[in-house]
Amino acid sequence: MASVLGRYGRKWSLGCVSYHKNHLPRFSTVTHSAVPSEPIQQQQAGRSMNLYSAINQALHIALESDSRSYVFGEDVGFGGVFRCTTGLAERFGKHRVFNTPLCEQGIVGFAIGLAAMDNRAVAEIQFADYIFPAFDQIVNEAAKFRYRSGGQFNCGGLTIRAPYGAVGHGGHYHSQSPEAFFCHVPGIKVVIPRSPSQAKGLLLSSIRDQNPVVFFEPKWLYRLSVEEVPEHDYMLPLSEAEVIREGSDITLVGWGAQLSIMEQACIDAEKEGISCELIDLKTLIPWDKETVEASVSKTGRLLVSHEAPITGGFGAEISASIVERCFLRLEAPVSRVCGLDTPFPLVFEPFYMPNKNKILDAIRSTVNY
């Protein structure tokens, strides 16, 4: 009975908010707010806010719209170490927003169980670098629950949020990008937003999606990325990539904080007469192969960039899939500009990172192949 109501409730909430397909403000470069390229549908006005505020707003909306949703994790009660959960405990109470002890495996296992009882469990892992004790729970429990029970049970209401990525001085254990590990697991979704307005919509979609989602938030952008974010409840579709810059000479694919670096490279390349098309993948699995394929069919060249080390990174999957689909169209090998194959270093971070110049070099050599 409860599960029927739950399903009905979710359909209702999906039905009453509209999906925005690429009708949001254009991707902003890191420090200033964006100018919309197309008029937004007539909704409530937006407000300028940063990434953690947008995520905070999404969580407020999620908890408000669904009384069976919960937010928990280490230190979330006072607002969290990145302030993403500010005000939630005060507003919704300690039985819905609560701190957990320091035990990632326990947190995720607990979240899976809660979700299996048809609740929306939003678990926070304080830094993506700490997600590994929970890796077994995610891979072996969350991803396979629906499959192995023949559809009787599922933990679709599970969303795991974790800040990921370089922050300038994080060192080995506060900078990792572990998305590739999770992209290798059928049964879960991996979503990574690039900006505040994207984050709000994608997080709401992830929470309401009927599959378990791992949601990585680019911590570098928590304060740095500021833009107009609509104040109402809206969702952005998962598994749909977005072309955020149109071009004709080469396709660049990325996600999260890396996109702003890639955009800088595109702007510089433009000055040299190279027209770059930039795609935000948004959902890494299941990923939108069609959009990327269509773009590469147009340009004939592909460059993928991510902070995670190059070997075995998600760029390898994109490269392999696109080569399969676009082999005869490709004018040059697929280029990957990624982190180096070393542990994320401390003092050497500037050398390790796939920065603008490395991307620019790669664009040039791909175009001149």
Binding site: L102, C103, H172, C338, L340, T342, V347, F348, D361
Partner: protein, 383 residues
């Protein structure tokens, strides 16, 4: 000796002027190794074992060494605080001031063949294991001369030749590693033990219980030391743990609760523990200690505890002050002599910092070394 029981400050102050006048004229700092027996401030609380005696054997030289070592550690941590604020140290920096008695007391009861493995609050533990101030400041500032060649940073200090296995960023991960170290020691029959340190936050990690079971099952010579400073980052112990009696959490593994601010109690407990584990398998030591700084340099440390609490501990239980009182009370040195030691330490620390500041950064090629055993394994990026 009349003053063998630690008396209150007031009575010491009354006795002092008389003794001082006579003694400061002709007595140098005592370096005698004549035994002195001192009682710990509070008794030990046992769990499934017989506690050791409260009477600790020490001597003037040892007490003065305690004073010097702890004062060096204190000065070093405060200097690291300033360096961090000056942005010479970057990344994360977790300071140990207040907890000095734990590593100093531990060192007094063991040797360098025993292994110590700890979490990320490791600057003082490293110093206790024989590290130098220069190595410490160099590593903190990411220089070549650092103990981990500048590649580890604050959280990853190591010293192989002294059995210091570091220096770990992931909470609780070092404890099962400690079991492995202990197993190797037992296998080699070398009568050495491992001290695996963790905090009250880490005590709730699943891997800790796995480590307890493994070490008890196989009778490993491991001492699990919970440095309970009562706050896991900003979370008070009673908010995170159903049972904050960490020394009892081993259930079938015996435990001992120790006043971690009393260096002599720590020394006694570690000595007892080492003897115990070589015969009977693992034991848990809970060190009741306190950190004055916040969890790390990004944490002011005052949003989850009152300033009164912090200053209260500083006044009542500071480990260095305790030893100072002991030394003065037993007339092993004068106040001036102790102050001179502190001045000397300050100078040493400043010199080490100055040297470290001008020392070179690691070569860029170091980015690729030590990933695997030899040569690359890494792709040098090219388009």
């Amino acid at each position: 000796m009349a003053l063998s029981h630690l008396s209150s400050t007031r009575s010491n102050r009354l006795l002092r002027p008389l003794a001082a006048a006579a003694s400061s004229l002709c007595r140098p700092i005592s370096t005698s190794t004549e035994p002195l027996v001192i009682e710990t401030s509070i008794p030990f609380t046992p769990h499934k074992c017989e506690p050791p005696s409260r009477s600790v054997e020490t001597n003037p030289q040892e007490l003065l060494t305690f004073f010097r070592d702890m004062a060096t550690m204190r000065r070093m941590e405060i200097a690291a605080d300033s360096l961090y604020k000056a942005k010479l140290i970057r990344g994360f920096c977790h300071l140990y001031d207040g907890q000095e008695a734990v590593c100093v007391g531990m060192e007094a009861s063991i040797n360098k063949k025993d292994c110590i493995i700890t979490a990320y609050r490791d600057h003082c533990t490293f110093l206790g294991r024989g590290g130098t101030l220069l190595e410490i400041f160099s590593e903190l500032m990411g220089r070549q001369g650092g103990c981990s060649k500048g590649k580890g940073g604050s959280m990853h200090f190591y010293k192989k030749e002294s059995g210091f296995y570091g220096g770990h960023g992931i909470v609780g991960a070092q404890v099962p590693l400690g079991c492995g170290l202990a197993f190797a020691q037992k296998y080699n029959k070398d009568e050495n033990v491992t001290f695996a340190l963790y905090g009250d936050g880490a005590a709730n990690q699943g891997q800790l219980f796995e480590a307890l079971n493994i070490s008890a099952l196989w009778d490993l010579p491991i001492i699990l030391v919970c440095e309970n400073n009562h706050y896991g980052m900003g979370t008070a112990e009673w908010r995170a743990a159903k049972s904050p009696s960490y020394y009892k959490r081993g259930d079938y593994v015996p435990g001992l609760k120790v006043d971690g601010m009393d260096v002599l109690a720590v020394k006694q407990a570690c000595k007892f523990a080492k003897e115990h584990v070589l015969k009977n398998g693992p034991i848990i030591l809970e060190m009741d200690t306190y950190r004055y700084h916040g969890h790390s340099m990004s944490d002011p440390g005052s949003t989850y505890r009152t300033r009164d609490e912090i200053s209260g501990v500083r006044q009542e239980r500071d480990p260095i002050e305790r030893v100072r009182k002991l030394v003065l009370g037993h007339d092993l040195a004068t106040e001036k002599e102790l102050k001179d030691i502190e001045k000397e330490i300050r100078k040493e620390v400043d010199e080490a910092i100055a040297k470290a500041k001008v020392s070179p950064m690691p070569e860029p090629s170091e980015l690729f070394t030590n990933v695997y055993v030899k040569g690359f394994g890494t792709e040098v990026f090219h388009s």
